[in-house]
């Protein structure tokens, strides 16, 4: 178990929603304890991914569902928390990560009759690089629910520490290990 008081942590996009949906498990208590000590920290990139997601859902939804989606979007955007902006230092580190790892480590996602396009997979991979760079520069452990991508980034940083001076290692915490 990860001590909630030992934060603050940066929450990846999928980790934030995983904890946001936590019910009846230790995850909700972990989140409550974490919030007693720290704010939720997310990258501005997570806001991009999230708001784009709400917008896509809204556009695809029937009229009757749109009110609920819009209410969820408003709830998300009005919640207190700290959003770490993309600044020059983070951009430089993210560029280095992207140069070292130009291709996503795993194939596009698939589900029943649905698939993620290659451009979408590449965009998501680059977003992950920006989030990892944010964690590195902010010197915060990154809580994630996407081991395949972030472990790959962590490995690349460890193999070339000279390209990330005074930064790293990228400290990763899986959602499942929180409780």
């Amino acid at each position: 178990m990860i001590d909630p008081a030992s934060g603050p942590f940066l929450f990846d996009t999928s980790a934030e929603s995983w904890l946001g949906r936590a019910e009846g498990s230790g995850a909700l208590e972990w989140m409550r304890e974490y919030l007693s000590h720290h704010e939720i920290h997310i990258s501005a990139v997570t806001v991009i991914e999230r708001v784009r997601g709400y917008s896509l859902l809204w556009r695809r939804a029937e009229e009757s569902k749109r009110v609920r989606i819009e209410a969820a979007r408003v709830a998300y955007l009005t919640k207190p928390g700290r959003i770490l902006p993309l600044d020059g230092a983070i951009a430089a580190v993210a560029g280095e990560i992207m140069a070292r790892l130009p291709e996503p480590p795993t194939a596009p996602r698939r589900s029943h009759r649905l698939t993620e396009s290659r451009p979408e997979r590449l965009a998501r991979w680059r977003f992950d690089g920006m989030i990892a760079a944010t964690a590195l520069v902010a010197r915060m452990p990154l809580i994630h629910n996407n081991a395949s991508d972030f472990e790959h980034i962590r490995g690349a940083i460890e193999r070339a520490p000279e390209r990330f001076p005074n930064l790293g290692p990228l400290e990763l915490i899986r959602c499942a290990s929180l409780v």
């Binding site: 996009t13 929603s17 904890l19 949906r21 991914e49 979007r73 998300y76 207190p80």
Partner: protein, 93 residues
């Protein structure tokens, strides 16, 4: 007399009468004595800290409630989209 007392208080302080648990009051008096400060100072500090914790707890519940509203009621596929995984119908070959 009363007006004189009120003038001697800081504009941001007010005099009031409270009924407190005897144990708490005894402990506050002990602390005040040990620190060589007035009982009002100790009570004010304790109250301030209690209110800060209460405010933090309210804020924490607000955040949890906002997260609940933001993510509940969506299918796994919809949550994927909210997580930035955009799935489209597979092209026919």
């Amino acid at each position: 007399m009363s007006r004189g007392i009120h003038r001697s208080l800081s504009p941001r302080k007010r005099r009031t009468t409270l009924t407190l648990p005897a144990d708490s009051l005894n402990e506050a008096q002990r602390i005040a004595h040990a620190r060589n400060v007035g009982l009002s100072t100790v009570i004010a500090e304790a109250l301030s800290e209690g209110l800060r914790l209460q405010k933090a707890a309210e804020r924490r519940e607000e955040v949890l409630e906002s997260y609940k509203k933001a993510f509940s009621g969506f299918s796994d596929e919809e949550i994927s989209i909210l997580n930035g995984v955009i799935l489209e119908p597979a092209p026919r070959h």
